[in-house]
Symmetry: C2
Subunit: 305 residues, 2 copies
């Protein structure tokens, strides 16, 4: 069986195979012990689709709609009103600040267990507006093959996302085969408390850590205490992660997925409000990073293709 | 070969063997998949000795002495002056606040790589004042056997310490066989930055997270996203960790090490400023937790005994 069957013969596929051979062939100068074979993957736009909008954002919008009956004031308050009126223009104009407000209101004041249940229920019923698929099927077949290929060569693969750690953990095992302890992400504060005498972890409306941009190397170091060998991303939010990983000694692999495929998925980069990729395209190649061209390099995009 | 050879036949040893048999015997009602077999261990006073004082505190004192030439003001400022004059009474009176001040001054303004080098150098030369041993040999042989016994039965063992995560990670693999990604601890803020064009993580003099008391369940949930099956501690700082772990469904194991052995190690509990254990002794047994009596239950304390 050929390795990485959904990857066309390309510089990207060749870069992966060469790198893995270099660090896993015993007796070779670049051989790396299995304990240090760590690969990190961004999630939105790298493992699954982030268009037309971040999946967790869509979850937050639906959650605001579900909670609106208890919050009559939201009909008069932005950015809630924009969600309830499906006013995407106002929402987009509100930027990350509006999104953060919605995330806090829709993700907090609830225990971690209840939050996980709500996310899993939502994932069972919500559908992608263009493809009509559950969001946890909007994942990239070539990246699934890459996860398994690296694992077969002794790597541990970690998700390192700007998205919420507890959101991703609800589906990472079933969707990607990545267990919850191998997910690193942004977080809101949780507080230990007794509810009717039983211990619970309550999610508070307070940002704990933003695992994006320069936060990604910080998050990886906090969770793993090691510098990974390989990093995969798709936006400028992954720039510092790739920079830190590929600055390590010995062979390192840094790859950025360029969304070039309007027909099978989406085409976007410099001007996109979601998953903006500009600096990575400009500086990546000179830094030795490989740009994956989705349209050219992937024979297949989604498992359902 | 007998399991846990340094544990005398005792209710504590029996509780461990019974628990492991229940959750690892296929076909039995309490069988637990290997992925969920997680055990958490406090470090200070549970895996290694914390008397006469926390090892990391002693490191901090030595580091203040080493840095004092660059800080003439410390000779006139508490708690630094107390360290430089070996005035343990003033230091003890300063409590946790004085210790925090010393930790910030002695652990920050340095990259994570440089910090690790300094800790490892210190561990090579520093000696325990009573036993004359390197501190990373002041570890409990019965607990080492317990770590290996649990691993042999499919458990992953994590350290969950109030001490500094980056301090413990410098020796956890060599000393306990626990890799850095299985260490959870307190942290100061680290910031990603370029130094002469090379990426580095700089340690800042700012508390990021205090992984003690109610912080322990929060820290475990953040790092693992699962509730462990078994928890081992020795002080009231471990109370909430044991409470949360043993409140889970199915069989759970909670154990507290009671330091009762002034001859071979130390005897302390309710009145100790280090590793105080009072509530755990009072409430633990009724909660089904097992108290390990060091003097009675352990045939051997240290590997060098």
């Amino acid at each position: 069986m050929t390795a990485l069957p959904s990857w066309r013969e390309s510089p990207a596929r060749r870069a992966i195979l060469d790198f893995v051979a270099r660090v896993t062939t015993p007796g070779q100068p670049d051989f790396v012990d299995a304990a240090d074979r760590i690969a990190v993957f961004d999630n939105d736009g790298t493992l699954w689709s982030e268009k037309p909008f971040y999946v967790q954002g869509l979850f937050g919008f639906d959650r605001v709609r579900a909670l609106a009956a208890d919050h009559p004031e939201w009909h008069e308050t932005q950015p809630f009103r924009a969600v309830l009126e499906n006013d995407m223009e106002t929402l987009a104009a509100g930027g990350m600040e509006a999104l953060a407000t919605l995330i806090m209101a829709s993700h907090a004041h609830i225990t971690t267990d209840d939050f996980a249940t709500i996310v899993m229920d939502w994932l069972r019923t919500a559908r992608h507006p263009r493809f009509g698929q559950p969001f946890d099927r909007m994942i990239y077949q070539p990246m699934l093959e890459l996860l398994r290929y690296l694992e077969a060569h002794g790597f541990r693969c970690h998700i390192v996302s700007g998205g919420g750690i507890e959101f991703i953990r609800t589906f990472s095992q079933a969707t990607y085969g990545i267990p919850p302890e191998q997910v690193i992400g942004s977080s809101i504060t949780t507080r230990y408390q007794l509810i009717d005498g039983r211990p619970a972890l309550m999610r508070e409306a307070e940002l704990d850590f933003l695992n994006d941009n320069a936060g990604k190397p910080v998050g990886i170091n906090r969770f793993l205490g090691r510098r990974p060998l390989a990093a995969f991303g798709n936006s400028d939010g992954d720039f510092e992660m790739l920079e830190w990983v590929t600055a390590g000694d010995g062979p390192r692999l840094g790859m950025l997925l360029h969304h070039t495929d309007a027909a099978r998925e989406y085409a976007y980069d410099r001007e996109s409000s979601v998953g903006r990729l500009a600096r990575g395209l400009d500086e990546g190649p000179a830094r030795g990073w490989t740009i994956i061209d989705m349209a050219k390099d992937w024979a297949r995009v989604f498992p359902f293709d």
